[in-house]
Symmetry: C2
Subunit: 180 residues, 2 copies
């Protein structure tokens, strides 16, 4: 099952850090790709690409001006759509159903304004708690539940850097040389 | 077990949104309080207070200039300290041990620079994946694993607004009046 994440309505000045965190969270928690919509932001895409180069894996980041068309295409290609919103069905109620469907999944995280149409295009509108918090935490916990924690052991191949988990201090392998 | 979150090294201009997401994530995922360190930011604290007023519960946000003293006090009062860092022990390895200790917990999320001393003061340095992503997602997934998903059903009492989960659209109860 391929997992893509669509970030709606990115605003270059206001959202650069949050959207970067959305991208890095998508990657770290096992998504294959983020598609940005809203403002085009080449700097942000380069920064995320740099992280992929340093830390491995083949995560992609792409830009699509028209998110509505992109969602339609995704559905026409046989994929399903999950929209993360604090107003949706509770994640703990629907995650089993989502896991059981083998189709590719597009996970949509909102920006400032989410058009009503997105609620209708989605196969599932899903809330992670019914409280206001963050698209970053919603995405992380949704993917963590979708992968049932297996994402915590994912291996990212081909990176220049790799953390060796350690109870105290920092331990990073850089190009086969070990620095503490 | 009381859960507080300490946000290190907040910078008012650069971190306002990320720190706000840290605070709201702490609240939504069941922490009792956030303590901010770094720049004092009354506006941010007011904004978080407004969310608590609207959405309920008794989450608090506080400021302490000197985070080092605060960590020492916490430990002297019998509490334990968890520092979230991508270099720590893997969360899936240590969360059981953390759950089994009934002492109050201080969860530290870093800012731009985390002093070496914090790694030493912590009872557990904990990584949520060994990849770079976001303090917001680390905190959310850590609390989600600590509470074993029970936080998804937490009730926040006394709020003016309450979401009624729904598969499509928005359903919010405002002061006993229901608006769709």
């Amino acid at each position: 099952m391929k997992i893509n994440v669509l970030r709606l309505d990115h605003r270059r000045k206001r959202d650069a850090r949050i959207t970067t965190h959305v991208c890095l969270t998508a990657r770290a928690f096992g998504a294959d790709k983020v598609i940005l919509s809203g403002d085009e932001d080449k700097k942000l895409m380069e920064n995320v690409g740099d992280v992929v180069g340093r830390w491995g894996g083949d995560f992609k980041v792409d830009y699509r001006k028209n998110s509505e068309n992109f969602i339609e295409e995704w559905k026409n290609n046989g994929g399903e759509v999950i929209h993360l919103t604090m107003y949706g069905s509770q994640v703990q109620e629907v995650v089993g159903e989502i896991q059981n469907s083998p189709k590719d999944k597009l996970v949509i995280v909102g920006g400032a304004r989410v058009p009503t149409k997105v609620y209708k295009q989605a196969d599932w509108n899903v809330s992670v708690t019914t409280q206001p918090h963050s698209e970053v935490s919603s995405l992380a916990v949704f993917l963590h539940m979708l992968f049932e924690g297996k994402e915590l052991d994912f291996d990212f191949e081909g990176g220049k850097m790799k953390v060796v988990p350690t109870a105290e201090g920092k331990r990073v392998i850089i190009n086969d040389k070990e620095n503490i």
